[in-house]
């Protein structure tokens, strides 16, 4: 999911930079893609049951 949403974001940006889609479509895609990318990244990154869940030990 992280890969899918990340690639979708990069592909949309590339297509928009090349002026192949209007800004409105690009923004609409980001409205859907950005939240999915954020949550899927967190779910991929989060600590599993056996891991320590505090990454910033010592801070």
């Amino acid at each position: 999911m992280v890969l899918l949403t990340g690639l979708a974001g990069i592909a949309a940006t590339a297509i928009w930079v090349l002026d192949l889609i209007p800004s409105l479509y690009y923004e609409a895609l980001l409205v859907v893609d950005f939240p999915l990318f954020v949550l899927s990244t967190g779910i991929w990154w989060m600590a599993r049951e056996r891991d320590a869940d505090i990454p910033f030990l010592g801070y």
């Binding site: 974001g9 940006t13 928009w16 800004s23 690009y26 923004e27 980001l30 409205v31 859907v32 950005f34 939240p35 999915l36 954020v38 949550l39 990244t41 967190g42 779910i43 990154w45 989060m46 600590a47 599993r48 049951e49 891991d51 869940d53 505090i54 990454p55 910033f56 801070y59």
Partner: protein, 280 residues
């Protein structure tokens, strides 16, 4: 475009960190570092996460996606100089999202927080009166038209100072630790977000960062006009510092008092707008 969206999220979180730091210094506490909210976001996204047994699974997760989605949309609408009415519609929608956060969890604290979100929608009423007053002068609700009007007639903050004050009150009601922050009152633990922990809370932090940036950017564009990017960032910090002073010095009101004060502000604003309409 996406780089600006990411910048806005992080800068919004930094503004919330500055808000916490200034409040702490006023209250003679050392306070957290100003990047604490950014650290929070990363910390929460790393923690073990699951969905509570009492929660409605679909709503519990979907509401986080919707929260980030609506503020991403709001950000692009402001950038494009779109309608002020859509932005304020999104403010209202955020109240429904907060309600969804609370109800989806199945926790009594979350539910009370959600109910208070609906009560605190009273804070949005001065917003609509402000919009009416702005429209009387600019004859348009489009942010780009409002900016164009200010280039000719000067900043609206000098033309309509009372409206700017009413809008400023709305901004206060959106800031954490403020007199109107009844949704995050300590007797409700963390209010509507009590059960949203880990990755879900990280998503909520991102939404809050983006929301703060959009709110302040809208205020500056509508009442001061188009300014250089660096000046916009400085103005945002200055506004946040003034908000922090108010939040640090005013106790949190009870839900009843919060609604009463906001209703009184609305009444004053209605009289003011009626006078303006009569004079014009």
């Amino acid at each position: 475009m996406i780089h600006y969206l990411i910048f806005a999220t992080f800068f919004g979180l930094l503004l919330l960190g500055i808000h916490r730091k200034v409040i702490a210094r006023i209250q003679r506490r050392p306070g957290p570092p100003i990047w604490q909210e950014i650290l929070h976001m990363f910390k929460f996204s790393f923690k073990s996460t699951w969905i509570p047994n009492t929660a409605s699974e679909t709503l519990f997760v979907a509401v986080v996606l919707i929260a980030i989605g609506i503020w991403t949309a709001a950000f692009f609408i402001v950038l494009a100089g779109g309608s002020l009415l859509i932005i304020f519609g999104i403010y209202m929608l955020h109240k429904i999202v907060e309600h969804g956060f609370g109800l989806s969890s199945g926790s009594p604290y979350g539910k009370f927080g959600g109910v208070r979100s609906v009560i605190s929608a009273a804070s949005e009423i001065p917003l609509f009166v402000s919009v009416a007053a702005i429209t009387l002068f600019t004859k348009s609700l489009s942010i780009s038209d409002i900016i164009a009007y200010q280039e000719v007639s000067g900043p609206l903050i000098f033309v309509l100072p009372l409206v700017a004050v009413a809008m400023y009150m709305v901004v206060i009601s959106k800031m954490p630790f403020g007199p109107f922050s009844i949704v995050e009152s300590k007797e409700l633990v963390s209010g509507y977000k009590t059960e949203h922990f880990g990755v879900w809370r990280a998503g909520l932090e991102i939404c809050n960062g983006l929301k703060t940036y959009v709110l302040l950017m809208t205020f500056i564009l509508v009442f001061i006009g188009a300014v250089p990017f660096w000046l916009m960032l400085i103005l945002m910090i200055l506004i946040v510092v003034t908000l922090s002073f108010i939040c640090a010095l005013c106790p949190m009101l009870s839900p009843f008092d919060s609604v009463t004060v906001q209703t009184l502000i609305t009444a004053v604003m209605i009289v003011y707008v009626a006078l303006l309409w009569w004079l014009l």
